[in-house]
Amino acid sequence: MTDTDPMEPRLRREHGNLRSVFDEAMSMVKDDVLRLGALVESALERAGRALQERDIELADQVRWDDAHVNELQRRVNQEVTTAMALQQPMARDLRELLALYHAAAELERMGDYAVNIAKLAQQLSDEPEAPLLPQIPQMERLCREQLHDAMRALVDVSEEAARAVCARDDELDALYNSVYEASMDLMAAHPDRVRQATHMLFAAHHLERLGDRVTNIGEDVVYVATGQVEDLNA
């Protein structure tokens, strides 16, 4: 667009504005973390559907697709490392890179939970058909809402939105407790359904853990915004 100005310092001429180079690298990392979030959200939705509809093929797809999640996380790690080495960011920039690095690791773990749920869907489909405890689809949906909101808080670096996500984790914990009670009751009343009840309990457990990881991302956002490390999942 603009002609080169011979009076401009050589470094700037060759590398453009250093600030914009860093911003470019940062937005690349951020977009990849958001992509990671979107992949995990989709994996979770499909794992939940596989569980409800006893769809073994869909569950298989979730298991295969986890490779993309892992690959993308590795790319984020590389991008963050490169940006740190070349740009040596300070203060909020550094915090943001660290937070993105950490969020990517959390998302990779969430992808593993989705895979675990997909595996449970396959095991459950081997059992006689029995209705899924209704709290499980509720938990799955809540997890996705939470993840979606956490990623949005990350986009906007919104401390308020991040705190709201963390506060909502209690709902997930309550649902998990209720699944625990319901599956114990189910086991007591129908000893022939112990395996189903156990699988459902595990699915709920993975969802509850996934929810905790979402709050960790909320804490990351708060850290970027304020510089304070807080435990918001007490």
């Binding site: 937005s27 951020k30 977009d31 958001l34 992509r35 979030g37 979107a38 992949l39 959200e41 989709s42 939705e45 006689p128 058909e129 029995a130 209705p131 209704p134 949906r141 809540l142 996705r144 809402e145 993840l147 979606h148 909101d149 990623m151 949005r152 986009v155």
Partner: protein, 360 residues
Amino acid sequence: MIDGLQAAAFDALLARTGGVVLLIIDERLRILRAGAEAARLTERDVADLEGMSLIAAFGSAGLDAVCREAATSGQPRSGEAELGRAGSERAFAIEVVPIPHSGAFVVALRDVSPLRRVERVRRDFVANISHELRTPLASIKLLAETLNAGAIEDEATARDFVTQIERETDHLAQLVDELLDLSLIESGETTLVIEALDPDVVLNAVAGRIGPVAQRRGIGVVRSGPGEHRVRAAGDAGRLGQAILNLAHNAVKYSHPGGEVRLAWEPRRDRVRFTVADDGIGVPEAHRERIFERFYKVDRARARDPADEPAHETLGGSSGLGLAIVRHIAEAHRGAVGLESVDGRGSTFWIEVPVAGSAG
């Protein structure tokens, strides 16, 4: 990049394409321009969207992938993705078209969720109907083969098998009848003959038909109403009776022996509400919303267990169509259906039709 003329053309396009989400993005998948529909879908301002990456704005891996393919190939690409708030996403068809010599792309997103919903209903319907038809057919075939292979020589076995064939045939016939019925009512081809009906007479007819079936199962049928009254329900005697009888059949079917089925009615503003209550197994909360859908079953294992059903007794309702028929009959009357239930402790189903002479 896009120039002023292109931007103006885009704005003109935006003004004319209501409902379609339009964007212009660059090859790095950043939003250059967005319309009001995009803002609505992402719950952001247009000004916020411009400059944002596609993934940050929409958070959709599917949309991102289609646009990336178009950007790397420079060719038009299409696909589909679920967009919108988590938990209430809708399916969107995606079209990405390059704007020549600009490095920019037009992205058009069209909401196809109603279409997908219809497709899903149709797919489920075909899958269900095949399953429901195949099960009795397979039984009949097996019984006939066994008879042919020699069982016919043994009179007791032969009689038992023929009885079973008869029962399965009844079940098939009932299913086919209900299907035809449902399609007639759904297509609006049946015309109801609306008369002013005495609710007591309607319930007496139902009690008369369900009584003997209930009695054989050791279940009592109790009738009640508000006593002296002049209320008349605006209904088709045959269809309304059929709907209440369907509910009564279910009540008997899911009652414990020794239980009681209560038929009652009451005036409710400009409607008459008929209720069928039982102390049976109830309907778990998660299923209450969908129970009036075709083929929706609370628990397949308990919905059709032949051992449950004494021979020579077609209780109905096991096709998964009974409640769908009830709902359609209610709707054809401009009435409604509903259910109150405590899991494990019985259900109360109700159907309402307008009071005769009321505007509704």
